[in-house]
Subunit: 495 residues, 2 copies
Amino acid sequence: MGAPLAIIGAIGACTVGTDRYESDMKIKATPARLAGLASLFFVSTASASIPPPPSAVELAQRGDDLAWSITEGLTTEIGPRQAGTEAEAAARRWALAKLTALGFQNVREENYNMPTWVRGEETASLTGPFHPQRLAIAALGNSASTGAKGIEGDIAYFASYDALVAAPDHFVQGKIVFIDHQMEPTQDGSGYGYYGRGRFSGPNVAAKKGATAIVIRSIGTDDHRNPHTGVTNFEDGVKPIPAGAISNPDADLLVRQWQRAQKIRAKEVPLGYVAAALRMKLLLTPRSLGQQVSGNVIAEVAGSDRTASPVIIACHLDSWDLGTGAIDDASGCGIITAAAKHVMTAGQPRRTIRILWAGAEEVGVFGGKAYFDAHGKEKHAVALESDFGADRVWRIDFKLPDSAKALSDRIAAAVMPFGVVRGRQPANGGADIGALVQAGVPAVDLAQDGTRYFDIHHTPDDTLDKVDPAQLRQNVVVWTAVLAILANSGDGELP
Amino acid sequence: MGAPLAIIGAIGACTVGTDRYESDMKIKATPARLAGLASLFFVSTASASIPPPPSAVELAQRGDDLAWSITEGLTTEIGPRQAGTEAEAAARRWALAKLTALGFQNVREENYNMPTWVRGEETASLTGPFHPQRLAIAALGNSASTGAKGIEGDIAYFASYDALVAAPDHFVQGKIVFIDHQMEPTQDGSGYGYYGRGRFSGPNVAAKKGATAIVIRSIGTDDHRNPHTGVTNFEDGVKPIPAGAISNPDADLLVRQWQRAQKIRAKEVPLGYVAAALRMKLLLTPRSLGQQVSGNVIAEVAGSDRTASPVIIACHLDSWDLGTGAIDDASGCGIITAAAKHVMTAGQPRRTIRILWAGAEEVGVFGGKAYFDAHGKEKHAVALESDFGADRVWRIDFKLPDSAKALSDRIAAAVMPFGVVRGRQPANGGADIGALVQAGVPAVDLAQDGTRYFDIHHTPDDTLDKVDPAQLRQNVVVWTAVLAILANSGDGELP
């Protein structure tokens, strides 16, 4: 059977599946409703011949601009949306107006307080033994300040986070630690946890060993002079130290100077330089604003069966301050919202679809925690999140109860024509739905291609031009197919 | 005939050609000398079979690291080398030591004074009618200052430089002019003159029409948040205005906000925004340091015939301040110097090869002018320059006297195996040899592939990692072949 018929069949199956619950649900799966959803994917369902599935280019040429419109709107009218700041509040106002205008129900803001850290001045230079050179640097979230005068010190080089962990304290004491370790791209983003330890934990380790500051090679795969920021955390009782990330070209320079300085000290290179340690001058003046208001924005497609548990779909509204948060994560909000809108337009689903545009994800998942505190005891059918850019969905993973075996098969068949393979590992969920999934809520992951994600992630380069409209639409098509099936699933299939 | 034999033949031909002048020149083309030069290109010349020409990968794997060493050294030990500053002076000291260590003769510095402009603080924001957003901006060389408090004003949008030229003054008066016009890449760099008018002349035109300031879309082909700086010039009698370039993603944002603001004013988009012009806040505080010392660094391979005019080969030592001047133009100095060194190593050439590492090219070709003032009346056989990055040479162009027809054929045949086609237009020369060529000195252009040059040009991203070692070596191989032939050319061929 040709792929398109498989898809129509899958969507049909979901509606047929719904029919099985019709006596309970008082809804009717009409041909018009089916045609409405099918028309999202196919120019014509009446053709006797079986056309190939639409290509990404074809998908991009179709009229579905909602995900783009949200991504473009947030990045153009608001821009950076750092958690706890006025920019994030402006983004919530924008979101409330947008989601209301789109016709969703129960559009609301749910606020909470959170500790807020903001960037100050940031400069760094290599000051000797060679001619001084400035480095492109960004402070890491929760970095301490160097004070307005900055600090200067010898650099202690470590090839990796593990090398820093293994080092005796006296290698580090009184020095500015540098962690090298060039991140390599992976399609599934699995390198983030591995390479990311330098940022997540490196500053804490360096502080405990007595470093005066730490500078890391950006957790990023690009070669531009744009450092990658991101949050770091210090354990209770550990006094935070200044912590920053330099861009990959700057890290390359530091490493070359480090190697040269070592050779001069070993008298291997008689260049006329005085043998001396490599030195850095560092100025970072971030500050804490204490507790500030942040919030989640929530909207719903009200389901026809009020007793059925909702499907929750999440993205995050906040972004880092350096870029405009286009791929992280305006596009995620665009994708999930467009999918929900399409399902709503095709006809009222059985289950409520709850759209969560979470606040304050970047700085510690405060929005996700607040949602869980407020709603964690409610039953949720299944949770999904889009927070890995805007490139195509290439794999689907499930973490569903045994009762959902047939459901997962229907879903996998529905997305197969769009180039999505079925994974063998359980779904992870995502940051904002993490607490729910941890508490047992089923999850489906629509894994995006992350090959170029860490070129852009948390840098000034996270701007609209990095979003590929064709791949963005593939996301929406895949999400719509999956969401339509999940939102019409039965109580015997999901909790 | 196989390509490698063609090359050896060409190099041989040059030596044979030299033999014709032997009675005048008192030099001897020995087999060892020929073999020395040929060995630069071929692992073995003794093989009976004819191997294919070496690939870029093969070239990259050979042992010639001099061009890389110069490029790496200048960018690592010195970094940015803005004309007239201490950094350029440090680069001259580095250059004198390096060129002396390489065994060149008559290594010297020739100083001159030049007006020096340096960057200050630079920030820009779009301040309304939407949520304020910061733009990545760099002042253009010779920009005026906004003063420490900055300025704020309405933006006057122009789709291109030509649109600004055509506009009536009242469109511009009291406003911050913005020139759009996305530069597209070309292999031969021919777009620079066309698109570059916005930078070269846009500020002067805007100032004459009464603008308070001008911001242009960067003259660049990339999509990173790194603005492209570069010099601009105001006519005598025109009061300079603040002038900056914003990165392409920032220009995209400005254009989207501009379009939205127009729609709001036309009441086409009832978004709840107040109809208002798009506004920008701009802070640029560059300053003039008056006349400062700059200088050319010159070195020579002394030719065997003191009566023969020299071959001059040029690059520029200064760089813009934002990056480390790796492709603009440390690599150019690496290429020409490595070629001269290889020719010298192979045996003393008939003509002197004069290596000019010019100062202060970026800010107005002061080094080239100073060279011409000091040496313009001396006879020069031919002039060549490398100042278009480090990507491969793809075309050769000539501007030679009629007497050099056979010479140009030999040269074209020598470089053909390395993927270099013969162009149909006359050679241009280059900025630093421009005055010489204008005065009638013959020129050969080894045109580099500029497809990605304007991704990097004049940005913070001009760093060592952008240099492809394989393509850099192809440059050296091509330059060496050409230089060997030119430096051994006869008085009947070149002036």
